[in-house]
Symmetry: C2
Subunit: 205 residues, 2 copies
DNA sequence: AGATTTTCATACTTATCGATACAATAACGG
DNA sequence: CCGTTATTGTATCGATAAGTATGAAAATCT
């Protein structure tokens, strides 16, 4: 009746599904979709191959589940929280500074899964690339809508361009993800955020 | 005595090395290092496997040769040309607008090889990731040096931060590469450039 | 207890990966 | 014409990829 299913019949699973999914997420995050092998996954998850397939389908489905978890419980939730800030300026400040923070979180791989997961790939992984692309677009769209509301409320000027502003902010965030992957420090990224916010101040009219 | 070597002894090569290297470059550019198989390469290059190994060493060396070519003859040359502009502002304008242009050149894969080639990857490709990382850093370093000169000349204000400015510009460029890979149009990117330049105007003091 | 159901562990399958062995071919110098 | 040198095409190598077949193990249900 609750979230968990009722009493199970057969042999009970010996691992926690969410826990090993987190392990898989970390591997995909660090290595990308194509750079991660099933052996990498089973080793990190501490389960063997048939258990993985029984619990998660296959590599592709596992990745998508890991991505969902990343977006829901991980950095994605930070994104959502930022959208709730009272003003458009506060939204952008929160979004950029929190991005700089989690992109360089030492307990996670540097960078953003939605960017590094499969930016370019072979034909076999095209659907993964597509999925990541859609998630990035969705994030941009949500930000644009937030700016449209702000414009309607007068928080943003009547000549402002919500779509362009949203794209600019996303571009800076994605660039910071590349910077983080290249070893940029948190301080480095926060300096970038400061500069990016100056463009914001000049464009929110 | 010239660039080409003297009279060759054995059976002559039946393909033009630079020409097929360009083909390989395009495949790596589109698919990334790990997403590209030797079969993809030989098919695109129109040569067979032993010819590829004889002429270019192996997959890794071929990639690095393709990267060198990309940086020397391709978009990398645009980067270098921009650094020659007379003022720091002109450098940045040229860099960003030309980036927006070539990142969406319909005759090339969208995005930048130095970003998409191997942003994250398996252990076996770590040296490729490293090489790309170094090239990106080098580009940032050159830009920083250009800004340091501008500061020394009084073109940039005495309180300006050449390193921070360079990192900001590189971040925007790398973000645009991700945007391009996600299908952003040239107009989209040029709008981003306009916004990014506003931050520039506010920070060049 | 015995039947049923599900998971676990080992070992395997097929396909593809990057990389080569080998012999035929095509240019050269003598 | 002959020996040398380098390239070409075919066919293959061992390693590893993703995915499974199979039977033992561990729980519930009757």
């Amino acid at each position: 009746m609750t979230g968990k299913e009722a009493v199970q019949k057969g042999r009970p699973r010996e691992f926690d599904k969410e826990q090993v999914l987190d392990k898989a997420l970390h591997v995909f995050w660090k290595r990308g979709y194509e750079g991660t092998s099933l052996s990498d996954l089973t080793e990190a998850m501490g389960i063997n191959r048939p258990s993985l397939y029984a619990a998660f389908g296959n590599k592709e489905e596992l990745f998508k589940l890991a991505l969902d978890r990343y977006l829901e419980k991980g950095p994605g939730s930070v994104h959502r929280a930022s959208l709730q800030k009272p003003t458009a300026t506060a939204v952008v400040e929160s979004l950029l500074t929190s991005s700089a923070t989690y992109l360089t979180d030492p307990s996670n791989p540097p960078g953003c899964l939605a960017v590094q997961g499969a930016l370019s790939c072979g034909e076999a992984s095209e659907s993964i690339k597509q999925a990541l692309c859609e998630r990035r677009s969705l994030g941009e769209q949500q930000l644009r809508q937030r700016f449209e509301c702000a414009k309607a409320e007068g928080d943003l000027g009547p000549d402002s361009d919500p779509a362009g502003l949203a794209r600019y902010v996303m571009t800076v965030m994605q660039g910071m993800s590349v910077q983080a992957a290249g070893g940029a420090s948190r301080a480095d990224l926060l300096a970038v955020v400061d500069m990016a916010l100056k463009a914001w101040s000049s464009s929110k009219s």
